[in-house]
């Protein structure tokens, strides 16, 4: 122990000089959760979040997705589930705040409402991405271009109506 003390005299201090010098988090650190521009607003992250820190509020024609940093447990479930890389855990860790109400991250999306009943279908970006995927497979029906502006139950109704009309003897 005496030797230890002697050696310590000539060593550099072990203490980091943190507030005066940056002390960056390593790569892959699970820090402040933020939405990126890639987010399409599908809501998969909100479904898996263990503490339910991501909330979705649909109001008129906009969807607001909000992550509460005070509730988040930084587990990376949302980042793992997101198919669009729309949410990620950054390396920022300095989140201390004096006002609880301002510690959140938010993103807004336009909504598509059903033309039949006015219910929310999904966000515009999400629908565009889905269209792209369907086009790639080649399943898109060129004739019914506006089919996605109806919700599922209205779509069923419409399909049934068309079928009945088509089967009517003229």
């Amino acid at each position: 122990m005496e030797l230890e003390a002697l050696f310590s005299l000539f060593k550099k201090p072990f203490t980091v000089k943190y507030p005066f010098e940056p002390s960056p988090a390593p790569e892959g650190f699970r820090g402040r959760t933020e939405f990126t521009d890639e987010c399409v607003g599908c809501g998969a992250c909100a479904a898996v979040c263990p503490p339910k820190a991501i909330t979705i509020v649909d109001e008129k024609k906009t969807r607001t997705m909000r992550i509460d940093h005070g509730l988040c447990i930084f587990c990376r479930s949302c980042q793992d589930i997101c198919p669009w890389e729309g949410i990620n855990l950054t390396q920022k860790f300095e989140m201390a705040t004096l006002n609880r109400a301002e510690s959140y991250d938010e993103i807004e999306h336009d909504l598509i409402l059903c033309q039949g009943c006015g219910k929310v279908i999904t966000t515009r970006r999400h629908m565009e991405e889905i269209r792209k995927k369907i086009e790639k497979v080649g399943l898109l029906d060129k004739d019914r271009n506006n089919i996605e502006s109806y919700c599922i139950s209205c779509k069923k109704d419409q399909f049934a109506r068309e079928a009945i009309e088509a089967s009517q003897p003229i």
Binding site: F14, T15, V16, Y18, P19, S23, A25, P50, P51, K52, D68, H69, G70, L71, C72, I73, F74, C75, F93, E94, M95, A96, T97, L98, R100, S103
Partner: protein
């Protein structure tokens, strides 16, 4: 003038009272780690004091469980003015992952007034240092 001086002195020696109110132990350990050689809160004059009569800043961790609410309240009352409470970790701020539990009264600011919040599960010791410095600056001037 005198006020300024007193505040300056207070800011240079914030004594911390650490109250664990049903946390997963992790924030407690990170608070202790902030006192250990790597991060060393004593650079800013911070000392961990188990006695509420000596403390300036109360560091609260954990959801406030059924049994610890009265303890926290009493400790806050016993602390001398001026005092401030800092909530560390998701549990103390909003109950975090335990937010649906039957065994809690609510987050720390439901029981005592909280001056600063440090999110994280657990926050890095650097984040705790940053939070304590933020709280000090806000309370007793830059």
């Amino acid at each position: 003038m005198l006020d300024k001086m007193v505040n300056y002195c207070r800011k240079k020696s914030p004594w911390l009272l650490h109250v664990s109110c049903g946390s997963c132990n992790n924030c407690d350990i990170e608070v202790l780690a902030a006192l250990a050689p790597r991060f060393d809160v004593e650079r800013f004059g911070g000392v961990l004091k188990p006695n509420p009569r000596h403390a300036d800043i109360i560091v609260v961790t954990g959801i406030i469980t059924l049994k610890t609410r009265d303890v926290l309240k009493r400790l806050y009352e016993q602390t001398m003015d001026p005092k401030a409470a800092v909530a560390i970790g998701s549990c103390a701020i909003t109950k975090g992952i335990f937010n649906e539990t039957y065994a809690s009264y609510g987050p720390a600011d439901k029981v005592i007034p909280v001056a600063a919040y440090i999110p994280g599960c657990p926050p890095r010791p650097q984040a705790i240092l940053h939070g304590v410095v933020t709280a000090l600056n806000a309370l007793w001037g830059e």
